[in-house]
Symmetry: C2
Subunit: 453 residues, 2 copies
Amino acid sequence: MTRQIRLNALDMMCMGATPGIWRHPRDRSRGYNTLEYWTDLARTLERGLFDSIFIADIYGVYDVFSGNADSAFTHAVEFPVCDPMLTVPAMAMVTEHLGFGVTSTLTYEPVYSFARRAATLDHLTNGRFAWNIVTGYLESAARGFGLTEQLSHDQRYDFGDEYLQVLYKLWEGSWEDDAIINDKQAGVFADAGKIHRIEHHGKYLDMEGYQLCEPSPQRTPVLFQAGASGRGRQFAATHAECVFTAGLTPAATARTVQDLRARAVEQGRAGHDLIIYNALALVCGETDAEAQAKLEDYREHVDIEGSLTLFAGYTGIDFAGLDLDHPLRYFESNAIRSFVEGFTVADPDREWTLREIAKFLGVGGFAPIAVGSPATLADIMAHWMAETDIDGFNLLYSVTPDDFEDVVNLVVPELQRRGLYRHEYAPGTLRAKLTGAGRNHLPASHPAACYRR
Amino acid sequence: MTRQIRLNALDMMCMGATPGIWRHPRDRSRGYNTLEYWTDLARTLERGLFDSIFIADIYGVYDVFSGNADSAFTHAVEFPVCDPMLTVPAMAMVTEHLGFGVTSTLTYEPVYSFARRAATLDHLTNGRFAWNIVTGYLESAARGFGLTEQLSHDQRYDFGDEYLQVLYKLWEGSWEDDAIINDKQAGVFADAGKIHRIEHHGKYLDMEGYQLCEPSPQRTPVLFQAGASGRGRQFAATHAECVFTAGLTPAATARTVQDLRARAVEQGRAGHDLIIYNALALVCGETDAEAQAKLEDYREHVDIEGSLTLFAGYTGIDFAGLDLDHPLRYFESNAIRSFVEGFTVADPDREWTLREIAKFLGVGGFAPIAVGSPATLADIMAHWMAETDIDGFNLLYSVTPDDFEDVVNLVVPELQRRGLYRHEYAPGTLRAKLTGAGRNHLPASHPAACYRR
């Protein structure tokens, strides 16, 4: 049987996914700070049988371009940005199946309060909560939290390993499954002998306490991860259940997927314990020509300076004042080289300039773009599935919510006709939907399992 | 004109307000971790034109009784407890006017992420968010956050003053009112010159950063405070807009209210800038006799050991193994003496025993109880209003949601008939509803105002 395609939607609680698109006449991202925006979107995605909505997040501001944050403010580059956790209870009110994957930066959230917050969301959603684990990378965020400097890249992942250990102890180890008695007659709510104080005395974290929430339907929320570096992949292969990759071609993606699954096996897990979604920006029209026209329209709305502000933040290079038509390969920077290599794979004979990169980034960000009629898009998606061993796609939008509505109204039915997409949700928690009926908790092969009693 | 009565409802995201009442056949508090419980309650309170729901919170567990937390677990004493912030977006979905006052313990939430979280809730509720400022007092909570010891009581308030300074800078000072341009044609979202990085280099906090959210309808959420000590009152008189007192008699409450208003004046504010709600547990029946029978029924469900677990946590005294019929005045403890004095005022000739205290605590906690028909309750409330200079009541329940439904269905109409209660909500944000049309932001007399540009 052909593997069915899984879909996830990426969004962020700010003015549009990519710089400039907020100016598009149909774009509704100005409503990012309203309940209506998020509940409407959640209803649309559930109609399209999406696995989940993944809300990215960032603390801090993009202040590398020109050495300040002015261009980020002027062009609304992932700024302002609200706390995405708080959209979840409202979205849960209007849906029954959709999963909610929310980014929370572990460097900046005390582990004890985060353990309770995430468990509360898993309770309120009846087991549909997922956490996208992020370690944080902006210096400006570190300053907001009063840190004089960030941990190094690899230290942040070491810290992350320890942070997760504490969470596993709290979520999996603090309460036994049958701790709750709830006997009104006897006046006994819980068996105190089955609620355990956990301790952790590590390099980065030192604490003692009980998990304050009773076990939620999934205990540990579904774990998302999107790290791309070697250390990031190792972290994902160890902890993550859903991994978000951003390969620009099927061949590059296939290599990443193979590497991730091999690393999972090294960790004692099955390669396919990882559900891998590759980023994909879909631009859909009734016909290929209509879709192409739509892409051109979107590109017209790209904000070059806004794009470069984002790219400067990613790479640490201040592009302000540089010749926009300068070929990128002349930059002597490892950070930028890794980006350029990605593009080179996609189009090896092309000399990318700063302007071209900015335009490219402006539609879909650092993701491959698929443009065409529903039939063309289904062909492209099927091709990716066949070539890469991914499980599905993390869909990026330009104009919201139109682009998601196109997917739901046009692309999903086409995939269903081809037998490539389900016709209804599986029952149960998000984890059960993703991994099989009744599987509400992490499997025994996951490192969290050793903290159970 | 007679001053109208304001009502606020107190609840907590746990198994009932007072130990044991979860066993009552009509009690629905087992649903504390579901959206339905909170949205049903919010609808009821809005039907009753309540100002707001105030959700108390606690980190940590009550582990003084017997030197461990067993009795807290057995009797569900404010445990398990979820994160109350996350109920707000769902309650906001089903209401238009009700305010949401949520406790957040400043010792345990990094100020930079809290600033964003609270602002996000103010956005999502269209300006109906309030924050109940708590400094935290349980040692077990401190250990959960990896602290070897808590700050002293007064130091916690000093820390609180500084924490609020940082919040005021972020909420009031980081964005000017006209910073957002939102000009799609010009491609300018914000005027970067009107978004300011704030800095704070203090004794307890040291940080730099921009407020990540654009200004929310109220900017600073409405500030709740309930501290009872001298230092706590000073803190309330400086910062709070709504103050929650717990006087057991009108005379004692009147003295507290007078003191609070005088302290506000010393701070350069008006005495009536403080909206003061005194705690009150209402037990309502169609007749006085029915109400009395209801109170007896509630008292039957009081869990003595659970009550003493709570009382031990408050006072730091382990009551386990003591004679329950021992008069309380023999305890040589300042902590307990202040409690006993409260009771003594209420009933000077009575010798309270541990058992009686536990029974008393078990219905309504440390609050006066009013029992009777709607007419009797209205008489009592009117008497309190006349004798104390309070603005209204913070209503405690026993059986949820029945007790709140009684208030809404029986007491509110009686108060309305007497001209003591409004017939509709004022328009606008919570602050505008509380302090006057159009007054969305803190007044110039509030210490936050000096951080505005």
